[in-house]
Structures are given as structure tokens and as C-alpha cells.
Amino acid sequence: MDAKKDIIIKDHLIHAIVDPEYVDPEYKDADPNIHIIDAAGKILVPGLIDIHVHLREPGQEYKETIETGLAAAARGGFTTVCCMPNTNPVNDNSQVTRFIIQRGREVGLSRVYPVGAITRGLKGETLAEIHDMKQAGIVAVTDDGKPVLNSNLMRRALEYCRGLNIPVFVHAEDTCLADSGSMNEGSFSTFWGIKGIPNAAESVMVVRDIALSELTDAPVHFCHISTKESIEAIRQAKKRGAKITCETAPHYFTLTDEDVKEYDTNFKMNPPLRSKEDRQAVIEGLSDGTIDLIASDHAPHSVVEKDVEFDRAAFGIVGLETSLSLALKLVHDGNLTLPELIHKMAKQPAKILGINNDIKEGSRADLTLIDPDHEYVIDPSTFRSKSRNTPFAGMKVKGDAFLTMGGGKVVYQRDGQSGGHGDHP
């Protein structure tokens, strides 16, 4: 909808959507329990959803907790996130699932939907109790961080999950081909003397899992797609009508392996930053709809894992608090329209998770107010995440979340007066 409206929110729900003149300005004074948010110049969109984040709790609370992760999500404009199962213990059983959901409720910021493991302990050997986890509240399964290397096990996992009607998120990586590499294989990895990860490490698994999806008639969602070959394979599969969806992360349409600063581990993530051609292919894939959605792959790490030798550093960067600003550049550059972007950051994720975040009367009031014109410089010291591992420090960006509302409650509001990312009012 492209119109100027007032929205009345009552008891966590969208009560009414009305024309601006409908609400009497004096109305506010009449009842002190009514709180009015001035959204002039801002754009109201359905609450953004990031379906790929690592919250690290339980087990690695020194990197991130559910509380700090959800605070980061709220600040980034996300009313809902899906957290990956590679915690310690792994979320491969209903107890861990329940713990995450319980903690998320206690925190009361953005909503968290856990994603369970496909295989027990993420070991790629035997199936986890997926039905039991689904009963407890998982919305999908993945072995994210690791591939399911055994093709037959992957086939059975897809069949099993199809029967349970639960989506499978695929971390596409042939770890034999990746061969313990640390950055994209190419002239830059040769220059720095860093072992490379070829594009094919991703695309051979994408091609394999498209084949397995077609074999089993089960849907497959590919995480963090980074190469032109993968995108082309997905494009062709979609043309054939295969049940394939995929996501990419902001760093893959923003940076390339050329940008990797001298052994700066904040540029190390998996899959790695690829070539210029791959970055271009990611942007084209977003534009033509091959890439369904944007997710941050928020992967907090402490200095213990990052302030070390490049090949020994952990993979991953934080993304919740930079994702929207980086994605808005696609709009400013004319690669996507704003509605298309919102589709990829709010509607498509909701569709995959089978949840509803429409702005309509009676819906839960999960809403994001975007300030498209707000220019600022990314400053990791202001992050609400516990970790600071970002390659975007010092980057000038335009546009961010002005306000995030989860279930009718303001979970984040930028200090508009200071123009910066001030503290929560």
C-alpha cells in the first residue's frame, strides 16, 4: 500500500487503519494512555524478518546472548529473527528449542523463532528428532555452518521434512573442495597467500540439492548464496518449477574479495566475499527475483576468535544492525524498488516461515518505521550486539530503522533529534 494513513494500535494488535483526518488531534489529550508516534517522513512497513542469525545462546554467551541479539535485531528494524542451531548444546532437541523460546519471551524485544538441526549434533550422520522440535516450536531445520555431505542422508532428510511440512535450509558447501580455505579463491587469495575457497565449493552442492529437491519433490531453501554459478543454477531450476528458494546476505552485494583489507579478519566469513562478477550476479539475482530474500547471517564473534592469524580466525560477521542500511543502497542505486526490498526483507521470509506480518486490522502489530533519508556512518561501538566483528566500520550509509514495534510495543526508537544512533529513549 502506498498511502498516508494513521494506524491505531490496541492490545498488541492493529486496531484500525484510517485516513489522517479521521483522528482528532485533540484525541491525545483526552486520554493519557494513548501514545502517538509521529511518523512524518518515515515509511511504515511490515515488521522485518531476518531468517538467518546466530544468537549463540546457549553456550557462547560471551559472543552474544538471546537478549543482546534480540536488542540488535530490534535496532536493525527486525521484529522477528530465526536463530541457527549451532549453539552449545546444539539445538537438535526440544529442550534446547523450548529454552530459546522461553528466553526470547522473557527478553520481550523482537521475536525469536528457533531453527533446529537436521542431524544430531550437526554431525551429518543421523536425523535429529525433527517432529519433537517442531512441536516445541522450531520453524525450519538446517545444519548451518556445515553441509550435509552424505547425499543419501540429505535425500532422506528432505523426504522426512516434506512429510512433516517443515522447511529445510541448506548451507551449500562441499567442504572437500573448500579444503580449509579462508577466502575466495582467485588472484587476491594468491596475492595474500591465503588458501582459497573456489566458487564450485558452493555451486556443486547447490546443483546437488536442486537435484535432490526434484527427486523428492521437497522444497529447499539455500542460505547465503554468493556465486554467479549458484544463482544461475537456481534461476534455471525455478524456471523448471522446482521448489527452490534462496537468500543472500548484504555483504555479498556490497563487498568483494578485492575489499579484503590486509589480513583483517572482519572480512572473513563463509561463504567468502567473492569476485566483482559474483557481486554483480547477486545484485542481478535480487533484481530479477531469483534471490527471494535477504538475511544477514549475523555471526557474532569476540576478539578471542577474531584478533588472531587470518587462517585461524573464526568465519562470520555481525549483520543485524547494518543489514537494512546496506540493503537500502540497492534502492538508492535503482537495483530494487522499496516495495521489492520490503518484499525480500519482510514478506518473503514470512511466507517461508508460514507466518503473517501483513499490515491489516486484527494483525499483530509487528511494524518497522524506516527513515530512508537518514545518513550516518556505521560505528560498531554503538552496536547493541555483544560483538563488533564487522567489515563496515566507517562506511557511510543512508537510511535505517527509525522505530521497531513488536506486538504493539516499541522495542526500538532512534533518537531522531541527535540524528545518530543514540540510546534507547
Partner: protein
């Protein structure tokens, strides 16, 4: 011009004039090792730490000898004896070393970029004695010194480098250095050992060994690591030797006054035949001799030369 570099991390970061200055200084240092008393007081009172996180005989002894001939005090830490085995991070170890006020830290490390990581954190000069598969600047500089000494120049020469380019920090530094100084570099190896985009460092990839060697002024053989035999990179030393071994017949394709080089340690009968290794065109042992002079020059330039002119 004054040599202002604090650290010697790789060849990329050195300007051609800096390379020339290092080679000139090293040439001057060479004579010290010929004296009956092989010691000068230049770096008296300076402390040099040899921090070797990877096994090394030749390079470590060469740096140690170089430091002692300049009267510096040297201390040695190796992989097995450092606190790294107790779980200390490289940066913490480096900061602890720094607290003892060394003037130079010589670092060898299995991770590419490790010297760059600590150079930013310590006041001491850092000299890279080999990092992962990235760089081995002192080796490339001594190679350039040895070639220049014999040929009187580097520019215009044809240099061939044959061997495991993918896993060789020596190859990367030599390709960069020789091409920076105006030589033409061609490389040859099994295709499994040629990394993507190596041409961008300043070389061409030859289709076979004969084409690579033809007309060369310098043939540099790299050590083929025995542990790679039977891996997925090549089947046997025998087959490797057949395709990429340097022998008399192949050497005939090069210039008559060709120089044969090898950074050591050699596998005789694999990448190089014994008769070639011991022939008159081989300057393999002179490389080792020059290594000491070259490392003396590096110490002098970063710790005792114009950078610290006021202390003399």
C-alpha cells in the same frame, strides 16, 4: 634517500630503490664474513628476538649469525618452547616480547599475515622470516643479491622458477621481486600447483618445463615437499621428476652462462639431479653465504642504519 621502513614484511611493500639499497648494503656487509674476526660493533646493545613458530635450520641460523656478526644480542623462541603451546595468542606473546624491549623481532609463522598482525602492535621492527604460503622476503632479497652479483644486473634477465608455486612463499616473493626489478619471470609446475591469478604477481605460466627453461639466464628450482607425494597434487616423485626435474639435458636449453639456484633444502634426484646441483653453474651454496650478508643488511637498515642515525 634514507631507509625509513620499520618492518620488512614482504616484497610488495618495498620500492625498487629500497630493494637496491638493501642489496647494496648487503654487498658491503659481505666482506665482514671474510675477516679473521667476523664481528663489527654496529648493533652492540641491540636485542634481536628470533621467534620461530615453524621448524627451520638454515634461515634461523642465518639470521642468528647475521645478528651476532653485528654484535647484537639474540634470543631464540621456537614453537615447542613458546607459550603459544599453552594457549597464548600470537598477539599476547608479541606484546610480552615487546615488554622486554627488543629492537627487532624476526618471525617465522605457519599463518600468512602473522608478521603483519604483530607489526601493527609492537614498536620493535618486525622482519618476516617466512609466513605461511605468503612471503619470504629475505630469501627473495638474497636471491636477487646472488643474481645481481653474478650477472651485474637484474633488469632484462629471464628467470625461470619451477616447482610447487601454490605452497611456496619463496616463489611468491621471488616472482614479485624479480619482476619489480625488471626481469622477466616464467614459472612451471604441475597444474595442481599453480594458484589462480599468479600472473598478476608478474610472471607468465609456461606450458612445460622445456618452454620454461629455454633461453633462461637463471633457473630456480623449488623443493618439492616429500609429504605431498601420493597426495592429490601429484602421484609419485618419479613422475614428478620425469616432468619437472632439472637435469643436464634440460639445462642445455638455457643460456650457456645460466645460473642454477635452489632455496634449499634440496631433494637430490627429484627436482634437481646431483650433477646439476654440484655443477659450476650452481650457485646454491653462494645463496647461503649471501643470506648472512643480506640479513645483516636488513638488521642494519631497520635497527642501526639511517632510521636510528641519532644513536651513532
Amino acid at each position: 634517500m634514507r631507509f625509513e621502513k620499520k618492518d620488512i614484511l614482504d616484497i610488495e611493500s618495498l620500492e625498487p630503490w629500497e630493494i637496491s639499497m638493501i642489496l647494496d648494503t648487503a654487498q658491503g656487509m659481505k666482506e665482514i664474513s671474510e675477516r679473521p674476526v667476523k664481528k663489527v660493533p654496529t648493533l652492540r646493545g641491540k636485542t634481536i628476538v628470533l621467534f620461530f613458530q615453524e621448524p627451520s635450520t638454515r634461515t634461523k641460523l642465518s639470521f642468528d649469525t647475521a645478528a651476532k656478526r653485528l654484535s647484537a644480542d639474540t634470543h631464540s623462541i621456537s614453537a615447542g618452547t613458546s607459550s603459544i603451546v599453552k594457549g597464548e595468542t600470537l598477539i599476547d606473546t608479541a606484546k610480552n616480547l615487546e615488554a622486554m624491549k627488543p629492537d627487532v623481532i624476526v618471525l617465522r609463522h605457519p599463518s600468512s599475515g602473522a608478521p603483519h598482525l604483530i607489526a601493527k602492535r609492537v614498536k620493535a621492527s618486525v622482519i618476516n622470516a617466512g609466513d605461511g604460503i605468503h612471503a619470504h622476503p629475505s630469501q627473495a632479497l638474497l636471491d636477487m643479491m646472488s643474481v645481481r652479483e653474478k650477472k651485474g644486473k637484474i633488469a632484462g634477465l629471464k628467470i625461470s622458477i619451477i616447482g610447487d608455486i601454490s605452497h611456496s612463499r619463496v616463489a611468491r616473493s621471488d616472482i614479485t621481486g624479480f619482476s619489480k626489478m625488471g626481469a622477466t619471470v616464467s614459472i612451471c609446475a604441475p597444474r595442481t600447483m599453480i594458484p589462480k591469478g599468479i600472473e598478476k604477481l608478474g610472471c607468465t605460466v609456461s606450458p612445460n618445463m622445456e618452454a620454461c627453461i629455454e633461453g633462461s639466464d637463471v633457473v630456480m628450482m623449488l623443493r618439492i615437499q616429500k609429504e605431498r607425494q601420493g597426495s592429490i597434487l601429484f602421484p609419485t616423485e618419479r613422475e614428478y621428476s620425469t616432468l619437472f626435474g632439472l637435469n643436464r639435458d634440460r639445462l642445455k636449453l638455457a643460456q650457456k652462462d645460466v645460473l642454477v639456484m635452489h632455496p634449499g633444502p634440496m631433494n637430490r634426484g627429484v627436482e634437481i639431479s646431483s650433477d646439476v646441483a654440484d655443477s659450476d653453474c650452481s650457485i646454491i651454496l653462494e645463496q647461503v653465504t649471501n643470506g648472512v650478508a643480506l640479513r645483516m643488511a636488513l638488521f642494519y637498515l631497520v635497527a642501526g642504519g639511517s632510521r636510528h642515525a641519532d644513536s651513532h
